[in-house]
C-alpha cells in the first residue's frame, strides 16, 4: 500500500461534502467506529481513500492500495457486499490493515458504489459497527440500500462534473479568440449559462 498526496480521482467541493456526509451518516446508522469511501482509480488499478469519518480521518484521505486485493478489492471486483466479524483474531488481515490505516477493526462491512450501468465508482466501508449491527442478512441489506443511495448521489455529482468538463473545451476555443475584456464578459456569460443548465 502506498501513500500519496495527489488526487487523480479529483473531487470538487460539492463531491467532497457529499462523500463526507455519506461516511458520517453510515457511521451513525451502524453506530460504527469509522466509515470510509474508496474511489476506483482504474488507470492506476488502485482504490483511493476519498472520505473518512472517525478513526483515520486526519491522515487516510489520499491513501491508495491495489484495487483487486483484500475485502474492499473483492467487493470492488464482484459488486457484492460483504460483512465480516472477528477480524482482530486474524493475524495477516490485522497486520495488512494496521500498516495502512493504523487501526485494526474487529468487524468490517463493505458495499460497492455502483453506477446504474454497472460500472464501479468505489466502495463504502463501515468499521466496527455496534454489536447489534453485525453479521446478519438484514444488516447486509441495510448497508446495500444505503450504498445504493450514496452511489446515486455520487453519480449525480460526477455526471455534473463530466458535463462541465465537456463544455469548457468547446467554449475555450471561442473565448481564446477574444480580447481580455470580451473574454471576461464571455466567461461571466458562460457561468450564467452553466448555472442555468445545472439548476435543479
Amino acid at each position: 500500500m502506498t501513500e500519496t498526496t495527489s488526487h487523480p480521482t479529483e473531487v470538487d467541493p460539492v463531491a467532497r461534502e457529499l462523500l463526507q456526509s455519506v461516511v458520517d451518516t453510515a457511521r451513525a446508522i451502524f453506530g460504527a467506529e469509522a466509515s470510509s469511501i474508496f474511489l476506483l482509480d482504474e488507470k492506476a488499478d488502485e482504490l483511493v481513500f476519498q472520505a473518512v469519518s472517525g478513526q483515520g480521518e486526519e491522515f487516510l484521505v489520499g491513501t491508495r492500495f491495489p484495487a483487486g486485493r483484500g475485502i474492499a478489492g473483492w467487493v470492488a471486483s464482484t459488486g457484492e457486499p460483504m460483512v465480516v466479524d472477528d477480524l482482530s483474531q486474524n493475524g495477516s488481515f490485522a497486520r495488512d490493515l494496521a500498516e495502512s490505516t493504523k487501526y485494526v477493526p474487529d468487524s468490517l462491512m463493505a458495499a460497492p458504489l455502483l453506477h446504474s450501468s454497472g460500472v464501479l465508482l468505489g466502495v463504502l466501508e463501515v468499521l466496527d459497527p455496534s454489536p447489534q449491527a453485525r453479521s446478519s442478512l438484514s444488516e447486509l441489506d441495510l448497508l446495500s440500500l444505503f450504498a445504493r443511495q450514496a452511489a446515486t448521489a455520487l453519480r449525480a455529482v460526477l455526471d455534473r462534473r463530466a458535463l462541465r468538463g465537456t463544455e469548457v473545451p468547446a467554449a475555450a476555443l471561442v473565448l481564446d479568440g477574444l480580447d481580455p475584456a470580451d473574454r471576461a464578459a464571455g466567461l461571466r456569460a458562460l457561468d450564467a449559462v452553466r448555472d442555468l443548465l445545472l439548476a435543479p
Binding site: 476506483l40 482504474e42 488499478d45 484495487a67 483487486g68 486485493r69 483484500g70 475485502i71 478489492g73 473483492w74 470492488a76 471486483s77 464482484t78 459488486g79 457484492e80 457486499p81 460483504m82 460483512v83 465480516v84 466479524d85 472477528d86 477480524l87 483474531q89 486474524n90 493475524g91 495477516s92 488481515f93 454497472g118 460500472v119 464501479l120 453479521s135 446478519s136 442478512l137 438484514s138 444488516e139 447486509l140 441489506d141 446495500s144 440500500l145 445504493r148
Partner: protein, 281 residues
C-alpha cells in the same frame, strides 16, 4: 403453499429467505421419497473433484487441508490464459468457500482457480475464462460464489452452463446478495443458492419461488480466512459451498448420477419438501 404475510415494501425481490421460517414454505412433491440418509448418508465426498472459482485458496489452512491444484487466470496484452500458481488467496473469500466444502465433504479433492486479485477484475471476462477452464477440466462440482451483472457475458455463460450440465460438471452458483439480475446463477442448468436465517448449519431448503432454487446457511457463518484463522461472515457466498459439499457427497455415493438427477435428489431431500403418496393410489 401460502405466504402468511406480505413482504415488506422493497423486500419483494430477494434472493434469500428473509423474515420467513422453513415452516412458511412447505412443498409437497411427487415422486419417490428420498431421505438425506439415502442421498449422502455415510459419504464423505471421497474421490469427487471440487473446484472453487474465486479469490484463490490459502495453502495449508488447517480447516481447508490439502489443495490438490491451484491455478490462476492471467489477463495481459497477450490475452487470457490459465496457469498453475503458488499464490494463495488474495482476499480470504475463496478460502472461506473451500473450508465450508471441506467441512461438508471432508474427503473430496479440492482445486482452486483464482479469477480475482490480479488486476481489478470488474469486467467478467476473467470470471468467464476461469469457469470455462473448470468446465473443460470436467470437475465434478464447481463452486461459484460469484456472478456478473454484465449483459455481454450472459449468452456465453448460458452456453457454458449448458455444456457443464450435459458434461456432468455441476455448477453450484450463488445468487447475488442484493436484488439485482446477475449470472450464471439465474440459469436452470446450475444449482443456485441463497441464504436462510436459521441457525442450523445443516439445514437447507428448496425455494418454491425460484429463480433461486436452494436456501442454505448463510448468516453469521464461521469460516476459515487468511493466516490460518477464522472469521464470521454473512452472505449467499457461504451458503453456496454447503450445497457444493452436499453435491460432492451425493456424487461420491452415486458416481453415475447426472446433473439433473443430482438436482432432483437435492430437491426431494430438502427439509421443507415432503413426498405425496397420491400417485401410488
Amino acid at each position: 403453499m401460502t405466504t402468511p404475510t406480505a413482504p415488506a415494501p422493497g423486500a419483494a425481490l430477494s434472493w434469500s429467505l428473509r423474515g420467513h421460517s422453513p415452516g412458511d414454505i412447505p412443498i409437497v412433491a411427487d415422486g419417490q421419497e428420498i431421505t438425506p440418509d439415502w442421498a449422502w448418508g455415510g459419504s464423505t465426498g471421497r474421490g469427487v473433484r471440487v473446484c472453487v472459482v474465486d479469490s484463490g485458496v490459502e495453502r495449508d489452512h488447517p480447516l481447508v487441508g490439502q489443495v490438490d491444484g491451484s491455478y490462476v487466470v492471467i489477463k495481459d496484452d497477450a490475452g487470457i490464459r490459465i496457469e498453475p500458481t503458488e499464490t494463495g488467496d488474495t482476499c480470504g473469500h475463496g478460502t472461506a468457500c473451500a473450508g465450508i466444502i471441506r467441512r461438508t465433504a471432508p474427503d473430496c479433492e479440492l482445486y482452486s482457480v483464482r479469477v480475482l486479485g490480479e488486476r481489478f477484475a470488474g469486467t467478467g471476462d476473467v470470471l468467464l475464462a476461469g469457469l470455462r477452464w473448470a468446465v473443460e477440466q470436467r470437475f465434478d462440482v464447481i463452486n461459484l460464489s460469484l456472478s456478473t451483472t454484465r449483459p455481454q457475458f450472459t449468452d456465453a455463460l448460458r452456453a457454458l452452463a449448458d455444456e457443464a450440465f450435459f458434461g456432468r460438471s455441476v455448477i453450484v452458483a450463488s445468487a447475488h446478495n442484493t436484488p439485482v439480475e446477475s449470472f450464471p446463477w439465474r440459469y436452470s442448468s446450475v444449482i443456485s443458492v441463497g441464504s436462510h436465517q436459521e441457525d442450523d448449519p445443516e439445514l437447507y431448503l428448496y425455494n418454491p419461488k425460484p429463480p433461486v432454487e436452494f436456501f442454505a446457511p448463510g448468516q453469521n457463518v464461521t469460516v476459515p480466512w487468511l493466516g490460518g484463522n477464522t472469521i464470521r461472515t454473512t452472505g449467499n457466498s457461504f451458503a453456496t459451498p454447503y450445497m457444493a459439499g452436499l453435491a460432492a457427497r451425493v456424487l461420491a455415493k452415486y458416481p453415475k448420477m447426472t446433473t439433473f438427477q443430482l438436482k432432483s435428489v437435492l430437491y426431494q431431500a430438502a427439509s421443507n419438501v415432503s413426498v405425496s403418496n397420491r400417485g401410488a393410489e
